[in-house]
């Protein structure tokens, strides 16, 4: 079995320690970091994402896989930087002001990382200006806003308005999601995209940035 297949299997099984060992071994063997990233991690996460979307696996399995994925990608990072490998794109993720629930957008983050995106993690209860800063100073090409309670929906609108006031609307894309979000509402408030779960968020993000 090739080392890359072994990495992929251990990511899938959530064996974080083994993934770290194998990733280091693959780099020592002279395999390129981008190749290890693609065949060891991204291809695996494509499968995991599809299974999550089809409800063949659930949150606990995704968290298990993500821990192994994170360890592997952290191990790869210095080599990726040395190889000048760029992430697919940068996405700032947070739950809007007035809403502290974070696990929803964390799942989106896991799925996006698994597809090669770089995530700027903003946490919960995030004021509009912090999203704007992530775009303006942090280089985020997409602002992803999670909103789980209807009382925090005004914060989503406020963030989109702040983006416009900063002259970034259209240049930086906005995505929304969360239990009380709907496509209709997202369209109404002028968000560029909506996705009902973390798996479909990846497809939407790629579509918004015109990536394959």
């Amino acid at each position: 079995m090739s080392i890359l297949t072994e990495i992929a299997e251990n990511v899938r099984d959530g064996n974080a320690t083994r993934v770290k060992e194998l990733t280091e071994a693959a780099l020592n063997e002279g395999l390129s970091a981008p190749q290890i990233l693609k065949q060891g991690f991204i291809d695996t996460m494509n499968v995991v994402r599809k299974q999550f979307e089809m409800k063949e696996i659930y949150l606990p399995e995704v968290l298990l896989v993500s821990r192994a994925m994170k360890v592997g990608m952290d191990t790869l990072e210095p080599a990726l930087i040395a190889a000048r490998a760029e992430p697919v794109a940068k996405v700032a993720l947070g739950t809007v002001q007035g809403d502290p629930h974070i696990i929803g957008h964390m799942i989106v983050g896991i799925m996006l990382r698994g597809a090669g995106f770089q995530i700027i993690e903003l946490g919960g209860n995030v004021p509009p200006q912090q999203f704007i800063n992530a775009a303006r100073n942090g280089g985020a090409q997409i602002i992803g806003m999670s909103c789980l309670v209807t009382t925090a929906r005004p914060s989503v609108i406020a963030t989109i308005e702040a983006l416009e006031a900063a002259g970034l609307k259209g240049k930086v894309k906005t995505m929304v999601g969360g239990a009380i979000m709907t496509k209709n509402y997202a369209d109404k408030i002028g968000a560029d995209g909506y996705a009902p779960d973390g798996a479909l968020a990846v497809e939407k993000a790629k579509e918004l940035l015109k990536l394959s």
Partner: protein, 343 residues
Amino acid sequence: MTREYSGRDRVIAAYKREYADRVPTAPMVGSFNAKLTGITIKEYERDPAKMANSIVKFYEMFAPDVLSVVGDLWLEAEAAGDELDFPEEATCYIKKYVLEEKSTLAKLNVPDPKRDKRLPDYLEACERVASAVKDVPVAAAVTGPCTIAMCLRSPEEFINDTLDDPKFVHELMRFTTEVTKKFCDAFKEIGSSVNVGDPSASCSCISPAVYREFVKPYHQEIVDHFKQVFLHMCGYIDPLMEELIQVGFNAISIDETSSLKKMVEISQKRVVIFGNVPPHLLVDGTKAEIEESVRQCMETAAKDSAFILAPGCEIPPETPLENMKCFMEAAHKYGSYERIMAL
């Protein structure tokens, strides 16, 4: 059909698999009620007399067949040691999880519903409502053990624990099951039915495998102890439907994410089903959309009784009054005896 039916009559008929003049309607509402008596959400959550008054006002304005007494999901977790924040005009939330360290579990005490934090206030609100309103069942809800566990430990750490430290998860579930049972006992003492809400046990949060290993035995214990238990589980529960029925809940309330059609097919009238109009429709849907959703629920589930029309989850506080009115009117229209008999 000439006799006058009360909400209680309609609910009893549904449970008996019989008929009244129409399908009963149970609009689950919580802090929505605050605006009916001009109080803030914070006042609603923290003052039992004000909470009770606004709930009674809801009854007077909208004539539900089941009157829900719903505060927030964190009453028990707060009483067990979580720190909460109470915004003036938004639902309260957890600021600090008491079980950041697993070892803290050994120091926690099962809250006393008559003494600790807001539990006695909630009991008081229920008693006040029940003494003011006699014609319909008054439905309070106790948070289920899985949700309390996630509220004490944080959802992510709880799921990590199921992977890394199953022994701890069982210890934690043992504790939270005692919390739920003790609170349910207090409700039985004041003459209320036993209603449990356990959204964190749905497959939107955990997997069927995690449910079976870490939650099912504790749900079983609660049902074996109290015999007649209503369960509300928001989130996706299609993979768990058969098992929840086998555990023995006698009524199951489902969310919009779950399939009402599947629940009806699997149940075969073994349980009374509540559900499942999407709550967000009442916030920003059109009247036509609200009516259509109600009509579809009735068409899917109302034939042969054992069905109570309800929203998939709590109707949010920002719901306009006219949408609530539209929901109730649609329920009366599409749930009439004549329409159900024609299904």
